[in-house]
Symmetry: C2
Subunit: 400 residues, 2 copies
């Protein structure tokens, strides 16, 4: 029958049949977003009956708005123009710099995903439409013609947490060929509302590893991307609680349990993958809550890691927290430094709501006369910054 199907018939099938038969030939006739060769981007939405269609996105200049909570920066907003067919569109005034961007449509004030865009990632407990301009920063977010690592979705047993949990692992190119070579390991942690998928989706981490390894800017390494939510077995939909709405304010994320149980992960990885199982070949880094986890894991297990990276890190435990994991931070910091870590890296944006906490933390390090590498950028608590920090951090690891 396939041979007898005409394009017109196929279009009919596509628009009518929906899921009664699989919609093999369907497609959304509008292209949105469309990145033009000159770097401008057009967004389109078919909505003949809408009164107003607007767009927000992290590429539009943020606007300061005064609210009941004080002044805050919010995404810029633009109106789309309607044509006679009911197609609304907007083209950016200027070319957008190479980057991974996020946006949303607002139809009569209702925020909706772009029906024409299949590139939609979960970011915390919401989904966001994304598009890539020009391969991202220095082309490092694109899949380039370089050797590619493998991504493994792997379950592990955590005896300390009495749980079976999931993590993601990046194995460097040729891992399954070079059956004896061992690699250093970076543990790379997500933030609040994230999970073992976050760095791979919004972070473009696999592409960044492939590209930096190919150009010699990163030492080939295994990268472990664990799930930092103790109450959660795996990313939403991947655990036994099924398709429940994800939550970002999960319990047991910053109460010390995760940091205390972290050696379970290291033991599992060292036992099942070809690692170099020594501190000098191990790094831990994370963003936001993952920076908090990295800091407190590293200082509570001072012989495990020789490299520490804090990206827009939360520093202070919540007031109600009484775990001994968060006690005696200055003493524990000094104990970590007694092992002469190769790198203690801090990066944050000046607009980040955790900026002042990081200033105070650096003052504490200064008073203790503990050296660190510091990178301050513009921008706030965003994936754009975390991808850039990762690009900056990786070349500093595992150098002899």
């Amino acid at each position: 029958m396939l041979r007898t199907l005409t394009p017109l018939f196929l279009f009919g099938l596509a628009t009518l049949a929906s899921t009664a038969q699989q919609n093999i030939w369907g497609h959304n006739p509008l292209r949105s977003p469309e990145v033009h060769p000159d770097g401008r981007v057009t967004f389109r939405l078919l909505a003949p009956k809408a009164q107003q269609v607007q767009l927000t996105g992290d590429f539009l200049p943020a606007e300061e708005r005064t609210t009941a909570f004080g002044k805050m920066w919010v995404d810029g907003r633009r109106s789309l123009q309607r044509d006679t067919a009911g197609v609304w569109s907007f083209t950016t005034e200027q070319a957008l710099a190479p980057e991974l961007y996020q946006y949303a449509f607002h139809i009569d004030s209702l925020q909706v995903p772009d029906p024409s865009n299949v590139y939609r990632h979960r970011d915390t407990n919401l989904t966001t439409d994304v598009f890539l301009v020009g391969g991202g920063v220095e082309g490092q977010y694109a899949v380039n013609d370089v050797p590619h690592g493998s991504i493994v979705k792997q379950w592990y047993a955590s005896p300390s947490l009495r749980a079976t949990r999931r993590l993601s692992i990046y194995l460097p190119p040729h891992y399954f060929e070079q059956s004896h070579r061992r690699f250093p390991v970076l543990y790379l942690l997500h933030g609040m509302g994230g999970d073992e998928e976050a760095w791979l989706a919004m972070g473009r981490a696999a592409q960044i590893f492939d590209n930096l390894i190919a150009t010699g800017r990163m030492t080939p390494a295994i990268v472990v991307l664990p799930n930092g939510n103790v109450s959660q077995q795996a990313a939403p939909g991947e655990g036994s609680n099924g398709f429940v709405p994800p939550q970002s304010m999960l319990p047991r994320t910053m109460n010390g349990e995760y940091e205390a149980a972290f050696p379970d992960i290291v033991r599992f990885v060292d036992r099942h993958f070809r690692t170099l199982p020594k501190a000098k070949h191990r790094a831990i880094a994370g963003l936001s809550m993952g920076g908090f986890h990295s800091l407190h894991t590293a200082i509570n297990h001072p012989t495990l890691f020789h490299y520490v990276g804090l990206f827009s890190a939360a520093i202070q435990p919540r007031e109600d927290n009484v775990s001994p994991i968060y006690a005696d931070v200055p003493t524990k910091l000094s104990r970590l430094y007694a092992h002469r870590p190769s790198l203690f890296y801090i990066a944050i944006g000046r607009d980040d709501f955790l900026f002042k906490d990081n200033v105070r933390f650096r003052q504490q390090l200064d008073q203790l006369q503990l050296p660190y590498t510091y990178r301050e950028t513009d921008g706030g608590h965003t994936w754009r910054n975390w991808r850039r920090y990762l690009l900056d951090f990786l070349p500093r690891l595992f150098r002899p």
Copy 2:
């Protein structure tokens, strides 16, 4: 600062700040879909200014509609009711049977994804909202408390196609522990518009493998999920062409190149993973175009596979196709059967648009006196059927 944030402030941040800071604490206040304990399901959408909100889904009775193309079955449709706050809702009249379902909202005739649901899979070149009732058929689509296999996203070189391409691999539970055990291999192929992600997303394949292996209904096996689109390096967004709109009518999908190059995949897998590298430990199966690929790969390489599965398979090449791969099918079939395959399995639904082609193909097998196992079901060309065929097919593989 985290410790000073009040819930009210967090809500303010969530609704206003969007991507100017990462929306850590945001959530969509509506729950949709909500599967009630009694199996009924409620859908909700906030759209105060909409005139009409409707729902289509594969759980609503399909409706026969007369169109310019003749009569065809389309998904059922229901209207949602608006409350005074502008929230539209609909609850199914009856409990839904355990299954993975698809649905979409239609706001004033515009089909839009459900903003409250993060479980949205790409199915061909569109995305569809999904929800799971009761763990799916016999609970086999859920992540249950059983040993879990690993999923690997792996690149391989195809010398025949002069391309570096991606595939997915399921490694059975304990693969990385039992470092010497070897496994049989199933090659499981997607349909038109699909790719190496399709069986794992819409097919719930990893959950099905885990659950059937745990109960002894499937022999532990490696399952390879290749990408069958020769012109495509990898799934959309995972290849070097970037975030372009996916196409289902790709060139070079049914012109013989893929079947001719298939031994490249088998060689790669046998070389890099612990397989039992003999025909009697190898199966190939696929849905729709993947059934077509399975059939023509198996009969053109008659010493490679001892098990063949055709799920809603396309049988006939397109009229314009002149590849020798599709010539002399009866002779090649007899040659395959000369090697006494353990299983030649055909499954299809009575409403499938490929049903008649499968009737003719079975007549051909009958005339040639070649035995096969046949399963005929209700329903059409749908993932619901393909998951059921997989559940029925796997227990028949790799039995001594």
